[in-house]
């Protein structure tokens, strides 16, 4: 399995984890460890920014892990830029998962504000990983604005519905010159494997692990699914159904000379 490279940093794991919705920080930590992830996103609103001994953060921070603060809670580009600067100060990293969802019900990303914020944050020196709609044109615009990855959604966040946007994800993956991380909606290891088989660079999973009967075991299941999907993609998938046989008659091509 090839290594994933984002903004010059290498990752051995192509599974990213979110940190919401766990029963306890201890269980979250165990799940993170079991998943072997090297990128964990955390909502800056959840952290006591003044407190160096914040309990949640203690359970995440480790040498192998790239901490990815996210701006969950902000409603427009201006708020996002402000939050990003706070996060950089507090977490000591310029990596940022940009999330702008003014809609509190479905938490759907605001495309216009996300693009605006990406443009500003890149200029301010951030490594920006924007959570976005599975909109191929938007993804190209984010790439042009200097985003380090794009993180299109597979389905509305928290729904566990899998790759409802697969036709658009396919186009995004085909066109992208930066890693494509499928974020939101991945509810089962098979969904993650499907995304990876399609050529996604990584998957970000939170709810499906956090609310599983056994989050630690589910973290392992996702680890293996992501690896299996990636390996299948790199190996070149075989024929699914062999519908194409040579045809005895040639009504369309009989005009051709030998």
């Amino acid at each position: 399995m090839s290594k994933l490279v984002i903004a010059g940093r290498e990752f051995n794991s192509r599974l990213f984890l979110g940190t919401g919705k766990f029963d306890s920080n201890a269980l979250m930590e165990a799940s993170i460890k079991a998943s072997c992830t090297e990128m964990v996103t955390v909502a800056m609103k959840r952290i006591e920014l003044e407190d160096k001994n914040d309990d949640m953060l203690k359970h995440i921070v480790s040498q192998n892990i790239q901490l990815l603060p996210n701006t969950s809670g902000v409603r427009d580009a201006e708020e996002a830029v402000f939050a990003a600067q706070m996060a950089r100060e507090a977490f000591g990293t310029n990596w940022l998962k940009l999330e702008i969802h003014p809609d509190p019900r479905y938490l759907l990303p605001d495309s216009v504000e996300t693009l605006k914020a990406t443009e500003k944050l890149v200029k301010l020196g951030f490594v920006v990983l924007p959570y976005c709609q599975a909109d191929p044109t938007l993804c190209k615009r984010l790439e042009e604005a200097g985003a380090a990855t794009v993180m299109p959604l597979g389905a509305p966040i928290g729904t566990n519905k899998g790759l409802q946007t697969r036709d658009f994800l396919r186009i995004i993956i085909e066109q992208a010159n930066i890693p494509v991380v499928v974020d939101a909606g991945i509810g089962a290891p098979s969904h993650a494997a499907e995304a990876m088989e399609m050529g996604a660079s990584a998957c970000l999973v939170n709810t499906a692990i956090a609310v599983a009967g056994d989050p630690v075991a589910m973290a392992v299941a996702f680890k293996q699914a992501v690896e299996a999907g990636r390996m299948a993609y790199e190996a070149g998938l075989g024929t699914q159904a062999d519908n194409f046989v040579a045809e005895a008659s040639s009504p369309l091509t009989s005009f051709l000379n030998d």
Binding site: E174, D242, F244, V245, E247, L252, T253, L256, D258
Partner: protein, 378 residues
């Protein structure tokens, strides 16, 4: 720039890969809705020849899904055959002791008027040789300025230009650029293009990046079949190039051409390979299966029966009633042509035949008011 990408793709390795493609590889490619370049290699390989009919069926299906039954019609106009290059296969070769013509603006206008009498042409392709001193960008700009009055969509097929020059010509109404790399085989390129600006492989190859950077709307690509014996490798390189351009200049529309050289009857350059009709059809179908959206263009180099049949199976753009000598429509109907035209039917005849075949020839698919708008915004 694509020349850097090309360094990573070994010519001989690619040739070997194509030759090693198996029946299973072909079946896998045919079963996929979205093929990659590896699949494309399988589809143009000898292993795919038993599947020609299946490929035709798929190519027809994808073409009709994307383009319906339309065929976009255009006409080329050579405004000069003055050229400082010495391409060994070209009639406009610098050492060829022929009379050289650079049409005056007035003569260009006569040609435009003459073309409008042939058919309802709105898509014009302006062609030149390479002589920047005598027929450079200002000359081309002038030809475009006048052409705008007669045609709604203007493309050029001229020497590779700088990004700024492409941007400048866009301001004069240029909507697209056609440029054939001729061959992607760096090692042999200079055998065919020994002197002049065209001998600079990277300048030509990266011209497509410059077009993309200048925001050119439509880019036409092509490999000249007859230069490299391993034409399958050459076409594979073009497939890589197409994918590269689509990824980097995603707002541009692309077209591909597979111009075939014929054996020369009067001595001159003999092609190193001859692509059969079946092979041309296979490559065309493979390109359509590989890319459902790319425009596939056949010129009047191809005989009428090939063009008519292929117009129903994958080809989406055609020229008609072309003259390949400068001023050939009005000013100098007897001048020396660049290459021989095999389909010499009139535009009216071709139009009627395409309709008989259930195709819809499209003459106008652009409006110059869009260009005006863009200029105002800039």
């Amino acid at each position: 720039m694509f020349s850097d990408e090309l360094l990573k793709i070994d010519w001989d390795e690619t040739t070997a890969k194509i030759a090693a493609k198996t029946d299973a590889d072909v079946r896998r490619a045919l079963s996929k809705e979205h093929c990659d370049v590896e699949d494309f290699m399988a589809l143009i390989s000898p292993a795919a020849t038993p599947y020609l009919e299946t490929m035709a069926r798929l190519s027809k299906k994808y073409t009709e899904e994307r383009f319906g039954k339309t065929i976009s019609m255009f006409i080329p106009l050579y405004i000069t055959n003055s050229c400082t290059n010495s391409c060994v296969y070209c009639g406009f070769h610098i050492s060829n002791p022929m009379a050289r013509t650079i049409l005056t603006p007035e003569q260009c206008e006569d040609e435009y008027k003459a073309i409008k009498k042939l058919g309802p042409f709105e898509n014009l392709l302006i062609v030149t040789g390479e002589n920047p001193a005598k027929a450079g960008v200002p000359y081309i700009a002038k030809a475009l300025d006048i052409a705008k009055k007669y045609f709604s969509n203007l493309k050029i097929e001229v020497m590779p230009l700088s990004t700024e020059e492409y941007a400048e010509l866009t301001k004069h109404g240029m909507n697209g650029v056609i440029c054939f790399q001729e061959t992607y085989n760096r090692a042999n390129y200079n055998i065919y293009h020994p002197k002049g600006m065209k001998s600079k492989f990277e300048w030509r190859c990266n011209g497509f990046d410059r077009m993309g950077q200048a925001g050119v709307h439509s880019i036409g690509m092509g490999v000249l079949i007859g230069l490299e014996k391993e034409w399958r490798t050459d076409i594979t390189m073009m497939a890589y190039h197409l994918r590269y351009l689509q990824k980097h200049y995603w707002k541009t529309k692309y077209s591909v051409n597979f111009p075939r050289m014929r054996p020369a009857e009067n001595g001159g350059f003999q092609p190193n390979c001859i692509m059969s009709d079946k092979e041309l059809a296979q490559v065309t179908f493979a390109m359509r299966i590989f890319d459902h959206d790319v425009d596939i263009s056949y010129s009047t180099r191809e005989p009428a029966f090939i063009r008519d049949n292929m117009a129903c199976l994958g080809v989406t753009t055609m020229s008609a009633e072309s003259k390949t000598e400068p001023g050939g429509y009005y000013t100098y109907p007897e001048a020396l042509e660049q290459f021989h035209v095999n389909d010499d039917r009139t535009a009216v005849e071709i139009n009627a035949r395409l309709k008989e075949l259930g195709r819809e020839p499209v003459w106008k698919d652009w409006d110059s008011s869009f260009d005006e708008l863009k200029l105002q915004k800039d």
